[in-house]
């Protein structure tokens, strides 16, 4: 079955992301689905189990706006800048609501996504050796190799209800292609029950991909045309990462009042991602 391509982003989020769902908006620094994250905030989703290796600004915003009850992650900072202040406020002060942490290392989370994509019950790695993480996360366990007896780390497969990605392009049939830094997007996509993708452009037909990453139409439930959908992250070949914005975010998110005011003006008031971008352009 071909994915639906006639939905707006608002319709796709309304249809696929329900309160309480486990949701992975993946993208390792590159191709972060900001537009989708903002739409989830606009629709006031609650009690989500958010999953992402690097929460980044998009989850700082969703957590600060009260969308999340649980976070599965492996590194929660503003890359090259410092803290995610809203994530910190949620963990340190339960503001705006308490958040349960399911904390991993990158290698552990990558293994969990790979297991999820393969529909295996757990991922295995030579990891978490002599660290305190397993003491605080009961989901990090160990397994003895049946062949050598070596003790290895085991992590439960991650199978999000919904994975949301941003990609460079899709074709009319709904095949999705992404390139550049691709993180664990392919694994997060194939691990999900439902895959929703926003794209920079929709073309008649994708060029032959050879070894490039393609998510074929029968694993994709919805494709939404959403130019600029990764901003202030980036889409290789379309626009660059706005490093200056990532630096500015540190001051915007530091205090609750400033954060709320910014979110009200730039995310809640605009009707859609295009208006969000236009609003930022005006204030730039």
């Amino acid at each position: 079955m071909s994915p639906r391509q006639t939905l707006t982003l608002a319709e796709a989020i309304e249809l696929h992301v329900v309160d309480g769902a486990s949701v992975a908006l993946e993208g390792f620094t590159h191709l972060i689905p900001f537009a989708a994250g903002h739409e989830i905030i606009r629709q006031g989703r609650r009690d989500l189990h958010l999953i992402r290796m690097t929460p980044d600004l998009v989850y700082d915003q969703m957590i600060g706006m009260g969308c999340a009850r649980k976070l599965t992650f492996s590194w929660g900072g503003n890359p090259g800048v410092g803290s995610l202040h809203r994530l910190r406020d949620a963990v340190e002060n339960s503001w705006p609501c308490p958040i349960e942490l399911d904390e991993h290392s990158h290698a552990g989370m990558a293994a969990a996504y790979c297991a999820g994509a393969s529909r295996l019950p757990f991922g295995v790695l030579r990891g978490y050796i002599d660290t305190d993480l397993p003491k605080h996360n009961p989901a990090i366990r160990s397994v003895d190799c049946p062949f050598t007896g070596e003790r290895l780390a085991a992590v439960p497969a991650i199978n999000p209800d919904v994975t949301i990605l941003h990609a460079q392009r899709a074709d009319r049939s709904g095949n999705v292609s992404l390139q550049g830094i691709v993180g664990a997007q392919r694994e997060a996509a194939l691990a999900a029950t439902t895959l929703l993708v926003t794209v920079e452009e929709i073309v008649e037909q994708l060029p032959p991909a050879m070894n490039g990453i393609v998510l074929p139409h029968w694993v994709v439930q919805a494709v939404v045309h959403c130019p600029g959908g990764a901003y202030p992250s980036y889409a290789q070949g379309f626009y660059a990462r706005d490093n200056a914005f990532y630096k500015r975010w540190d001051a915007i998110a530091r205090e609750r009042e400033g954060f709320n005011a910014w979110m009200q003006r730039h995310v809640l008031e605009p009707r859609n991602h295009r208006d969000f971008l236009l609003g930022l352009k005006e204030t730039a």
Binding site: F28, S74, G80, S105, H106, C114, G183, Q236, D242, A284
Partner: protein, 261 residues
């Protein structure tokens, strides 16, 4: 030329430790500056891997994040993230790993997770990222960390990645394949593990800094090696290359980005 700052001395000292053609797993910040400085000076064929999956990258300017487009555009190739951690790092194909942290103890164990108790932290830090497995699997690791009694501590609030554990060969009895921290580069000088006890001891000082000053900057009773060297002052080529790199980087990061609408 203006004398080198402490940060420049740290970066240059770290860069010198990287052999040409070695394969380095690079972190953001000072490690990224050190690795690229090595590439621009004595190690043109060093292979830099960033955990975002960019391999053999030769960035013109330092990236702000671990996944800036610059890294992909200048890489030999780009692989998915699970591949970089499984097929390269875990498989033992990384010579040098670079780590930073909020806290280090005398055996080179590191904390980048929390200050205070895990369940009610005083300060929630970003967390592990790639560190636990870099610390375990890179053949050797270097740690870069500015010193204060809050960062060089008697005991960690949380062990995010393992150094020599409690020393005296404890690490060798674990399943970690890498040999552990080979040096800690700080802003007073360099610590290296004692061959038997594996406790970090002062083996080199930057010019103009005394052993007493180094000991005062460390939160445990820092032992001194029998012979303490002085780190050679940065030469003009090193300083020029580093300053030009930083200047290019600042200029690039100041460039306004077109908002895509």
């Amino acid at each position: 030329m203006i004398a080198a700052t402490r940060e420049e001395m740290m970066t240059i000292a770290a860069a010198r430790m990287l052999p040409d053609r070695s394969v380095c797993f690079v972190g953001i910040g000072l490690p990224s500056a050190a690795c690229n400085l090595a590439r621009l000076t004595h190690a043109p064929d060093i292979v830099l891997i960033y955990e975002s999956g960019t391999i053999g990258t030769r960035p013109e300017v330092l990236p702000l994040s671990i996944g800036d487009g610059e890294l992909a555009e200048t890489a030999s190739f780009v692989v998915p993230l699970p591949e970089v951690f499984s097929y390269y790092l875990q498989a033992g194909r990384v010579d040098v790993g670079f780590l930073g942290a909020a806290q280090i103890d005398r055996y080179g164990n590191l904390n980048s997770t929390v200050i205070g108790p895990y369940d009610s932290p005083r300060t929630r830090l970003p967390g592990a990222g790639g560190a636990p497995e870099i610390a375990a699997h890179a053949r050797q690791t270097f740690v870069m960390l500015k010193a204060s009694p809050r960062s060089f501590v008697e005991s960690l609030d949380f062990r995010t990645s393992a150094g020599f554990l409690s020393g005296g060969g404890a690490r060798g009895r674990s399943t970690a394949r890498g040999r552990g921290p080979r040096a800690v580069i700080s802003d007073f000088g360099i610590l290296t593990p004692h061959p038997e006890t594996e406790e970090l001891q002062l083996t080199a000082l930057f010019e103009g800094i005394t052993a007493t000053q180094a000991q005062a900057a460390v939160g445990w009773p820092l032992k001194l090696a029998q012979h303490i060297a002085t780190v050679p002052v940065p030469d003009e080529i090193e300083l020029q290359a580093l300053r030009a790199l930083n200047e290019r980087t600042e200029q690039a990061h100041r460039q306004p980005v077109r908002i895509p609408v």
